[in-house]
């Protein structure tokens, strides 16, 4: 009982003041956890000491949160919020500068027929397209996110991954989406994964810049760490890798690349949200979450928003702390938005084909 109360009121009495993961103070908070990341053995003991995940309970909870009925004004609010949280993504071998520019134009004005629609949070591209996207977006306020570190497999030597990251940062990326080395994680080399995330975070710093301001000129790129949860086999692994990445300094934790069969699922995302909540309760560091891949409908997106609100609260319900990695989701959100404003069902003829 006491434990439960302690948990519930922890934010009021014990919790340190919240600091963002990309801020300067975050490093100091993480230093307070330095004992668990001191060496391989300590890290392993800590990660394996995390409570096991109740798979049935987790899936039931995620399913329950998916049954909320969100209608009328709340739905309109949720749709606009979801649009503003989208990392509009194109990660194809066939990407051309023209396609990236078209996507950027769509990101700034998702619905050309309705200028009240909010812009998306970021455009997510491969590193070589960062400069093109940056130029196309100009001062619109839409960020450029770049995948890096040998996306999507992550199978390259560390120096190559770091060079990949530095390249993208130098080209102007505001955010870096890195993939972890799943091979190292699954074979238990946790420290290797930890050190790699730290090294990439350092590579995100812009020469001469500081890391404390919001992104923009001179500041460090924010780091999103992709776990590829579809390849991690168990929920326990997802919890462990979430803590591992947050301890290593991730600004965002992201479910998947969108390139494998199983992408973001509600239970996995809920589990990561809970890890973020627990990490925040322990250290006061606020970390963002980004489910990616397989989220295609407005209904799905609203389910995720409900989950965020119920697990982390309103503080996370902004594009700074929650993102959707998606491409086709935007069209469905726009069609629903048109339905709400006109009263008639819209169709795919009235949104762009990308």
């Amino acid at each position: 009982m006491t434990w439960r109360y302690a948990r519930r009121y922890a934010p009021l009495v014990t919790m340190p003041i919240t600091v963002p993961a990309y801020g300067k103070e975050a490093a100091g908070r993480l230093a307070s956890m330095a004992d668990v990341t001191a060496d391989d053995g300590a890290l392993r003991r800590f990660l394996h000491g995390l409570p096991g995940v109740d798979a049935v309970g987790l899936e039931a909870r995620a399913a329950t949160l998916g049954t909320r009925s969100i209608k009328t004004t709340a739905k309109a609010y949720a749709i606009d919020l979801a649009i503003s949280m989208i990392d509009l993504t194109t990660l194809e071998g066939a990407d051309t500068p023209g396609k990236v520019r078209a996507l950027c134009a769509k990101g700034i004005h998702p619905d050309p027929t309705d200028r009240t629609s909010p812009k998306v949070a970021a455009i997510c591209v491969y590193p070589d397209m960062v400069a093109t996207a940056k130029e196309a977006l100009g001062d619109s306020g839409v960020h450029v996110a770049s995948v890096a570190t040998a996306f999507p497999a992550g199978r390259a030597a560390l120096p190559v991954k770091l060079a990949d990251t530095r390249d993208a940062v130098a080209a102007g990326a505001d955010e870096i989406d890195m993939v972890i080395d799943r091979g190292a994680f699954l074979s238990g080399r946790y420290m290797e994964v930890f050190e790699e995330i730290k090294a990439v975070k350092e590579a995100c710093a812009r020469p001469g810049g500081t890391s404390q301001t919001e992104s923009g000129g001179g500041s460090a790129a924010h780091l999103k760490v992709i776990f590829e949860t579809g390849e991690l086999q168990t929920y326990d692994n997802v919890r462990r890798v979430s803590w591992l990445a947050m301890l290593a300094g991730a600004d965002f934790i992201k479910t998947s690349t969108g390139k494998v069969a199983v992408n973001a699922t509600p239970p996995v995302t809920l589990l990561m949200l809970e890890a973020v909540r627990d990490f925040h309760a322990a250290t006061g560091v606020q970390v963002g979450v980004k489910p990616a891949g397989g989220i295609r409908t407005t209904k799905d997106a609203i389910k995720y928003l409900v989950m965020v609100n119920e697990t982390l609260g309103e503080r996370w319900l902004t594009a700074d702390w929650f993102r959707f990695g998606a491409s086709s989701l935007l069209n469905d959100l726009l069609m629903q938005r048109q339905k709400l404003s006109t009263g008639r069902y819209s169709g795919p003829d009235y949104v762009t084909v990308d």
Binding site: G343, R344, S346, G347, P348, D349
Partner: protein, 286 residues
């Protein structure tokens, strides 16, 4: 010794090749012409209509892209299946419309014959609706009929089976996909037709059948931006005008209701109503 429990049939909607209940969970009582309860039919909502449009749109690419020969074969196959279920349809039509067995038989036979007749048109419609146009230049100029797209069909209210077949078959044989709203008071033959369609190689979503209040389902279909045409055969005179107004928003093809004798030779009107003409110019060479 007739102590078998009777097995009641649960009639369901037909959307995207599946048999869902109404999203709203509602049903309504269907009675025969004398007011005796026959069964409960699902009372479809506007969301069922929306789902049906999505299913029909998804099926359109494959169905319109299939060869005319293939579409014809599938329609013949449906006629074969109808023939196999002839007795069931005769009983359902007799109940629904209060007909004697011989009159109901005549209706069902006419319906099956009509289906076969339309099936034959699949690879012939291009000859009467298209062709080479004479032009004053060194070009071939060819017009060919193309399906309009997703067609919403309000099935005739009074003719529950022959009328239904007479509006669905001409729309799909040319490559359109259909959302059919069954006759409000006698939807059971239509819902049974769905079972035939589901077992006869017709790709899921080409025909979707909804039962319920015609006025309730028709309004969102008429206003839907992703529906390309609407057949108002089953709309009453009062609502037809409103539906046509709503349909004008995205320039739907509209087929107005009229007094049709469903037993008469249908002609090609309905066949040609849901076609667009594609014309190409092709240089002849020197």
């Amino acid at each position: 010794m007739s102590d078998r429990l009777s097995v009641f049939k649960t009639y369901k909607l037909y959307v995207g090749g599946k048999f869902p209940r109404s999203e709203s969970g509602r049903v309504y009582e269907v009675t025969d012409s004398k007011g005796t309860w026959l069964a409960n039919a699902p009372l479809a909502s506007r969301k069922d209509a929306r789902d049906a449009v999505v299913a029909a749109r998804k099926a359109f690419g494959g169905w319109s892209g299939a060869t005319a020969y293939n579409r014809g074969q599938i329609l013949y196959r449906i006629a074969e299946m109808l023939e196999g279920r002839r007795d069931q349809f005769i009983a359902e039509v007799a109940d629904a419309e209060g007909l004697s067995k011989s009159k109901a038989t005549a209706q069902v036979d006419a319906a099956i014959d009509r289906w076969v007749w339309y099936a034959g048109w699949s690879d012939k419609v291009a000859q009467i609706a298209g062709g080479a146009n004479p032009v004053a230049g060194p070009y071939f100029n060819l017009s060919s009929p193309e399906p309009t797209g997703v067609v919403a069909v309000l099935a005739p209210q009074e003719s529950s089976f022959l009328g239904l077949v007479s509006v669905i078959a001409p729309a799909i044989v040319t490559g359109n996909t259909v959302i059919a709203v069954a006759s409000e008071d006698s939807p059971l033959p239509a819902l049974s037709l769905a079972e035939v369609l589901a077992t006869s190689d017709l790709p899921g979503g080409v025909v979707n059948i909804l039962s319920g209040r015609t006025a309730e389902i028709a309004a969102p279909l008429a206003a839907h931006q992703d529906v390309n045409a609407i057949d108002l055969a089953g709309a009453d005179a009062g609502s037809a005008k409103d539906l046509e107004t709503a349909a004008a928003d995205n320039l739907k093809r509209v087929l107005r209701p009229g007094t049709t004798d469903w037993t008469a030779d249908p002609g090609t009107d309905r066949l040609l109503a849901f076609l667009e003409t594609k014309t190409v110019w092709h240089p002849m060479g020197v």
